[in-house]
């Protein structure tokens, strides 16, 4: 299968004052097109750091991060921003919607960033994805008028509307109750299967881990386990 992202012997060390804190230590990882991959591990194991590296939000201290056909090494902030704009979608733990924009406008936001000036085309794509995530009726509401689950659905729609190469979700269910968390995982899984979009999400929730088609477990910044999952079929 096509590899959409690859980490080769990646190290990331943070400097806090005079102390150097290694967050990721020699991680190598291939992420294949269409994967629904979970990165699991306890707090401080390096999950978020790896997502940040894959998301071109951070650069490694050493090693190589390849996404598509290139590496993120030595790129300017502007080029990294353009790269994220083109290839990546993000879902955050705390939803991070823009509170002054409606659901529709939040989802439209990344399309504008992609330079799609045609409003008709944008409206069509926004409408389609909102229908897919089950929020067609709530398009004109503000985020504050939605439940946590609904807000995370908007975030998923916002990540998917631009057809990204890779969607990165940092603990997407951590702020949700278990039922809603299950609904969000189902939604992401459906999108993964329907559109073939590659998902990488971090979690420490076993119920979320078992939904993954591949599970990578980290411990102290290193891969402790890398195994195929059954996408939750055994659980169901």
């Amino acid at each position: 299968m096509t590899v959409v992202a690859r980490l080769i012997d990646v190290h990331k060390t943070y400097k806090i004052g005079r102390i150097r804190v290694p967050a990721v230590r020699g991680v190598s990882l291939d992420i294949e097109q269409g994967a629904f991959m979970s990165i699991a591990g306890p707090s401080g194991s390096g999950k978020t750091t790896i997502l940040n590296l894959l998301g071109a939000l951070d650069t490694p201290t050493s090693g190589t991060v390849q996404i598509g056909e290139g590496t993120t090494a030595g790129l300017s902030l502007k080029t990294l921003a353009d790269f994220r704009n083109t290839h990546l979608g993000f879902v955050f733990q705390t939803f991070n919607l823009i509170p002054v924009l409606s659901v529709r406008e939040n989802v439209d936001f990344p399309l504008q960033l992609q330079g799609i000036g045609n409003k008709g085309e944008r409206n069509e794509r926004v409408h389609k994805i909102l229908m897919e995530v089950g929020l067609g009726e709530l398009a004109d509401r503000r985020p504050t008028e939605l439940s946590g689950g609904q807000q995370q659905r908007v975030a998923v729609a916002r990540a998917l509307v631009k057809n990204p190469t890779l969607v990165l979700a940092d603990e997407p269910t951590a702020n949700l109750d278990s039922e809603t968390a299950g609904e969000i995982m189902t939604l992401m899984q459906t999108m993964n299967e329907k559109h073939g979009t590659t998902f990488v999400f971090s979690t420490h929730d076993p119920l979320v881990m078992e939904r993954a088609s591949r599970l990578v477990r980290l411990h102290d910044g290193q891969i402790a386990l890398d195994e195929a999952g059954d996408g939750g079929r055994s659980a169901s």
Binding site: L77, F83, R84, T86
Partner: protein, 427 residues
């Protein structure tokens, strides 16, 4: 495989309308803070616009005053008079006045002309003696077609044809302690150098607001002045009023062409009053700088407001950058918020300023209560009328927006330099 990531050619920017929309809604997010900042700006704009309206009104009234009582729109002199006009010489005079007037009055843009004879004199009430400026004016046909002296008569009446007497400036009358009906002695020298004295009754007092006239001048019929100076049929200047639609420069050129080769020179009122115009320009510049500084001080509050907003929205900035919005896009967003705060405050201040100015533009503002008889440096009467000037209003409103945007430069630049991954971690 090792080549650096090549992003596709995608702007990474928001549409201008979205930035405006986002900026406006963000202002409403913390509406109390926005209103406090906007109100500060509004007060500054209000004061600036009222002050500017007053200054424009005073300037316009000054110009009208000069034209109506002193300079007319233009004057025609014999060659050499203009440079020595402050000495009031009698050696450079105009003759064939009727023919000259006929020549000038057919020029396009000219509405009326009138001859005047200016001379130096000493006035006495029998006790005091002061040097003054005497002006001989053509009472009938036609001084009041060019000047507006009859409107400035505050006591007594205007000069009558064939009747000897004088109009005296109110300041001069006060100096002498004389009133309408009192007699004054005019002492002067003829062109030949002979002394001449004549007793004349004060027919009326004039208060023009122009210190040169009110404190230093008296007006007599032209025939009286010609008789005293031995200059029958002569004048020192031909004053000219333009029609309301005339273009000054074109009319001046046309007059100059009409009297070409006659050893005459025509001067527009601005040239005659070039010292005053330079003073006006200097005051404008000084007041302009002061007023801009005033607005700058007011918009400093915008810096603080935008800085606070950028701190509060650090995670949101990180999220937008994570989605691909460039730093320049973040900068634009906060600059827009700053500019909108300035424009909002500017609009509020402008509305109130226009209402105040419009009221006083009709009712007038009596400055005697503030200044009494103190000379405020402009030839205006006791009531001034502020002028509503749309260009100034729009320009100062837009200037407020620009200055508020400039005041937001630092917080906007700071926000745009955020590192997305750090901004997203911000609590």
């Amino acid at each position: 495989m090792e080549a650096a990531v090549q992003a596709e050619s995608i702007p990474g920017r928001l549409l201008p309308l979205t930035i405006l929309q986002l900026g406006w809604r963000n202002l409403r997010r913390n509406h109390r803070r926005t209103w406090i900042t906007a109100t500060t700006v509004a007060l500054a704009v209000l004061l600036v616009q009222v002050a500017v309206s007053l200054l424009i009104g005073i300037e316009q009234q000054s110009f009208d005053n000069l034209i109506n009582y002193q300079t007319a729109h233009a004057k025609l002199y014999a060659d050499g008079y203009f440079t020595k006009r402050e000495e009031l010489p009698l050696d450079y005079t105009l003759t064939d006045l009727q023919e000259l007037r006929a020549t000038i009055e057919v020029v396009s843009g000219v509405a009326a002309t009138t001859p005047r004879l200016n001379f130096s004199a000493q006035l006495s009430n029998g006790i005091d003696l002061y040097a003054c400026i005497g002006v001989g004016i053509q009472v009938t046909d036609s001084d009041d077609d060019v000047f507006r002296i009859p409107q400035a008569v505050v006591d007594g009446e205007y000069l009558r044809s064939g009747e000897e007497g004088m109009l005296m400036g109110t300041g001069l009358a006060e100096l002498f302690g004389v009133a309408t009906g009192d007699w004054m002695t005019v002492l002067t020298k003829t062109k030949a150098g002979a002394y001449e004295a004549l007793d004349l009754p004060v027919i009326g007092l004039i208060g023009t607001g122009n210190p040169l006239i009110d404190r230093n001048s008296f007006l007599v019929p032209l025939e009286t002045a010609q008789y005293m100076l031995g200059l029958d049929g002569y004048a020192t200047e031909l004053a000219i009023r333009f029609s309301p639609t005339a273009r000054s420069e074109e009319t001046l050129s046309a007059i100059a062409r009409a009297v070409d080769n006659q050893h005459l020179e025509v001067k527009g009122w601005r040239e005659m009053e070039e010292d005053f115009m330079a003073l006006v320009q200097m005051k404008r510049t000084g007041q302009g700088v002061f007023l801009v500084i005033f607005i700058v001080l007011a918009v400093v509050g915008v810096t603080n407001t935008i800085l606070m907003a950028s701190f509060e929205r650090t995670r949101e900035i990180g999220m937008m950058m994570a989605m691909g919005l460039r730093g320049s896009g973040i900068r634009r967003l906060f600059l827009t918020e700053g500019a909108l705060t300035g424009l909002l405050g500017g609009a509020l201040g402008t509305l109130v300023a226009v209402a105040i100015t419009a009221y006083f533009a009709t009712a007038g503002l009596d400055i005697t209560a503030m200044y009494g008889d103190i000379d405020i440096g402009y030839p205006v009467k006791d009531t001034i009328y502020p002028a509503v000037n749309i260009t100034v209003i729009v320009a100062s409103w837009l200037l407020t927006g620009v200055l508020a945007a400039l005041a937001s430069l630092y917080p906007a630049a700071r926000a745009s330099r955020q590192i997305p991954v750090e901004a997203l971690r911000h609590v």
